[in-house]
């Protein structure tokens, strides 16, 4: 390659090309794409802050008409909404913490190249990525071990994921030099100490990434609540929202489950306020963790 560089070798690498029509076209496309991500939510916010009359007369676009907080106060006055928001926050935090602990405990030993049996154990765990038993066998297991219709069915099974473990393991193996471990062990440190004092403090990015993924997945999920629970107190916020939109859909036959939805159903402003309650927590944590997760995705691409 250096040969073809010819006499220009040593000059600045790539000459800046002129800002061309192609650049302009790309920027316009990307701006439009970004607008499709932002405008729907501006619209939802505007509707949630508008009077019902304005919403019904289709006057609300991207700015509230007849500004008021009624929809939000109505949500906050609904004890069901408030208690289930709190419940969702609790299971989200619990699952995230548990997940980080279990994943790290698994990833660290498996990241030690010298550990006998490491390959076999990794394989045992990876099988679960490609072979899932499916809904009914899982349902029967939960029934047998007695976690059906309890909060544990929503917290425990999602706490460990082979994929997340592999990402953390790759991080432990590639981003922290093994020489740190060697010198600590020579100084008499135990494996626990090396893990807790050296590896954990150096692994903030991967912890932030996985925390974001697990927390978002738990906050956003509702299928497991639909599968494994029937109690109203165990319904995550997304499930309530699902019941609400269900009741607002055309000619939907209302099944027993959507009675709550029917009860809440829904001046559109109210629906929009609930959408905001379900979205805002994600919008709040997202910017703080965003700088980390790109790295996490890249680690996922490295084959273990």
């Amino acid at each position: 390659m250096t040969v073809s560089m010819g006499k220009r070798a040593g000059k600045p690498r790539r000459r800046m090309e002129q800002f061309s029509a192609a650049d302009a076209a790309i920027m316009i496309i990307i701006v439009l794409l970004c607008l499709t991500c932002v405008l729907p939510f501006v619209h939802v916010i505007a509707k949630s802050l508008s009077s019902s009359a304005a919403v019904l007369s289709k006057r609300v676009f991207f700015w509230p008409e007849g500004f008021n907080w009624d929809a939000y106060t109505r949500v906050l006055n609904s004890s069901l909404m408030v208690s289930q928001l709190g419940f969702t926050a609790q299971i989200t935090i619990a699952q995230t913490v548990l997940s980080l602990v279990v994943t790290a405990l698994c990833a660290y030993p498996l990241s030690r190249r010298y550990l006998p049996g490491r390959f076999v154990i990794t394989m045992i765990i990876m099988v679960t990525m490609y072979f899932s038993a499916g809904l009914i066998p899982t349902y029967l297991l939960y029934k047998d071990i007695g976690i059906l219709n309890t909060v544990w069915a929503l917290v425990l099974p999602g706490a460990f994921s082979a994929y997340n473990m592999l990402i953390m393991r790759t991080y432990f193996m590639t981003s922290i030099p093994d020489s740190l471990e060697e010198s600590a062990i020579i100084d008499g440190a135990s494996h626990f100490t090396v893990f807790a004092r050296i590896w954990l403090p150096l692994s903030k990015p991967v912890f932030a990434t996985l925390a974001l993924w697990v927390a978002v997945a738990r906050w956003n999920g509702y299928a497991d609540a639909m599968y494994y629970t029937t109690k109203r107190t165990l319904q995550p916020i997304q499930y309530l929202l699902y019941n609400m939109i269900l009741s607002a859909r055309p000619s939907e036959s209302l099944s027993g489950e959507s009675q709550i939805g029917a009860a809440l159903s829904a001046p559109e402003a109210l629906q929009c306020a609930v959408i905001m309650f379900a979205t805002v927590p994600i919008l709040v944590i997202y910017p703080f963790l965003q700088k980390y997760f790109v790295k996490g995705v890249m680690l996922g691409a490295v084959k273990g």
């Binding site: 990307i30 154990i121 349902y139 297991l141 626990f192 299928a223 607002a248 859909r249 994600i282 890249m298």
Partner: protein, 323 residues
Amino acid sequence: MIAQRSLGRPLKRSFGTGSVPGRAIAAAAKYWQLYAMLVLPLAFVILFNYCVYPNLRIAFMNYRPAKGWASDWVGMGTFAKVFKDKDFFRAFRNTLVFNIADIILQFPAPIILALMINELRAKAFKRVSQTILYLPHFLSSVIVASVAYTLFRPETGLVNVALTNAGFIAKGIPFLTEKWHWVITYLTINIWQQIGWGSIIYLAAMMGIDPTLYEAATVDGAGRFKRLRHVTLPGIRPTIVMLLIMRMGQLLGSGFERLNAFGNVNVREFQYQLSIYVYEKGLGPAGDFSRSAAVGLFQTLVGLVMVLLSDRAAKLLGEDGLV
């Protein structure tokens, strides 16, 4: 961190024995802390994955709740019943067609976006737009569906109101309430939701391309498009192949939460896919556990076979493949 469970401590004396069990004991003694860390995670894997596998036997039984695990064995009988089932056929057809459409339309979208982002030179613009484009990935299917209904309702949806006010249409378009429109809207929203997130991995692969290749291409007179065609694309090719193989494993996958959130009576013809089938037949009023489990097993097996086949095909074509 964890209860100090000693796996090998009393055996420490036998350290250094040459035989296989001897070496295992020696390793256990030397690394017991590392093995102890694995106890809790392995307990999770065994309980929530490996303990589920034996329950797959239900697919080969005619499960009756009254009899429980003492129900009659029927061998492949359940599968024979399933493959004759009209509902199954419809769900299977929809799942397959949606996945093929998704692979053709959605799979290339992040690659194209990554190529465009890669061409951006204004740093701040690049950063801000990426942040915005990744966001939809983090929204739940219920939120996306509710926002979609807010935007696309025939009478009151923003898009239809705007189009009507502008005089383009006289009557609202039933984006989500007529089955053919629904297919297009559903697939498009999926592209929209995943395009930004999907591009990250390709952008990462592009960063890994040796810059001297670009220099050489420039010196040889390659313009931007030629560099894209002859340097960037070949550079991300292994990533594309790997992701395509993994995508093939999802050929019969159908996300329950999304489909369920987007469903309504008018579009059930197409929205009825395998995940809905498994849920309704299994946990619905019918409660046919065996049939539902058989379909779930079928989905998993097809996925496995597809991964192995496409990995094989990739290798025959001279690509790296998965492993």
